[in-house]
Symmetry: C2
Subunit: 201 residues, 2 copies
């Protein structure tokens, strides 16, 4: 993209933490919307489970930014880093507020559900059948997002949950999968999960 031929700088500790913060906020917002959509307390609680890690990351990033400013005298650079970590922290807080709607049982009508269901990006829940082509392959090998437009944001296996699964995770029969994507992608993904469609495409 754009500046071809430029070698990418090796990510520093600050970069890595900021990337983790961004990915975490994306996941927190998605999980919060799923919690509302499926009125699922467990997911809502899990959004809060990210709060501590988020706070830790923000503190660490701020400390590292200040350290680097003292070392190289680059105040602007440190300012941008601190600013960005603040923004991520605030988006994370918004996700907590959404999840709170579920935990406080203040959902007496379908307006919030509908808002999320009818959005340009929706969240679906489906069960993996034994004969689904998704069974027994790692998510990396499946490249689901690239092939179907749907991202898996959480997997429920029996009483256990995997939030924000990575490429190494593998789907098993009976898994309940929460995925995010365009409304037009949900139907086909359901068919794949249920073993009724034999191709990702």
């Amino acid at each position: 993209m754009g500046g071809m031929g430029m070698t990418k700088p090796k990510p520093s500790k600050i970069d890595k933490y900021l990337i983790e913060m961004k990915d975490m906020t994306d996941l927190m917002v998605d999980l919060a919307y799923s919690a509302v959509l499926f009125n699922n307390y467990k997911i809502a609680e899990e959004v809060f489970a990210f709060e501590e890690r988020m706070d830790k990351l923000q503190t660490e990033v701020e400390r590292l930014a200040l350290k680097s400013a003292v070392q190289d005298g680059n105040v602007e650079k440190a300012f941008v880093i601190i600013k960005l970590s603040e923004i991520f922290e605030r988006i994370g807080d918004s996700a907590l507020d959404i999840a709170d709607v579920v935990l406080r049982e203040i959902l007496p009508h379908p307006v919030v559900k509908q808002t999320i269901e009818d959005s340009d990006t929706t969240i679906m829940r489906t069960k993996i059948s034994g004969n689904s082509i998704l069974v027994g392959k790692t998510l990396k090998r499946l490249e689901l997002a690239g092939e179907t437009g749907m991202w898996i944001i959480a997997i429920k296996r029996g009483k256990k949950w995997v939030f924000g699964p990575d490429g190494k995770n593998m789907l098993k029969p009976g898994d309940i999968v929460f995925a995010r994507g365009p409304p037009d992608g949900t139907k086909h993904f359901h068919m794949i999960a249920r073993g009724k469609a034999r191709s990702l495409l």
Copy 2:
């Protein structure tokens, strides 16, 4: 999903406004990240162009929520609606803060770009060639997101911009397209846009 057989209630004015707010916050955050990634002032400015509409929607939603509470006496329902509109407004504000990083030219180093580039969801920029299979079809017909995993968040045509294009929009040769999706989906989308891949799949 879940409660089959239930007929969906017809969306009210409040539902529609909340859905617009959610879609707008999603778009604002995506555009803000693109603005940083491509150091693009025009996109950063456009994020701010949503601010007014966002504020108007929030005011209107709050007014309608209060009205409905007075009419049906359902305080909890009105509370959830007001709460949700506040959360969307706050996520929108976070997007403004991200865009502000670009507008204030406080980008002296690659850390912010890298954070967005290396995230689980990335944003790409590509140009549509005359021989691309994307040319001359509506986005609805293409079903890009479902087929390739990439969402188009903005199109630049000459000096004009289309932000958050809908299904009726059509791609033309020379269009600069900003799309969002999984990092593994960007390469193929580039090939399609450049006319080097002749299938969406």
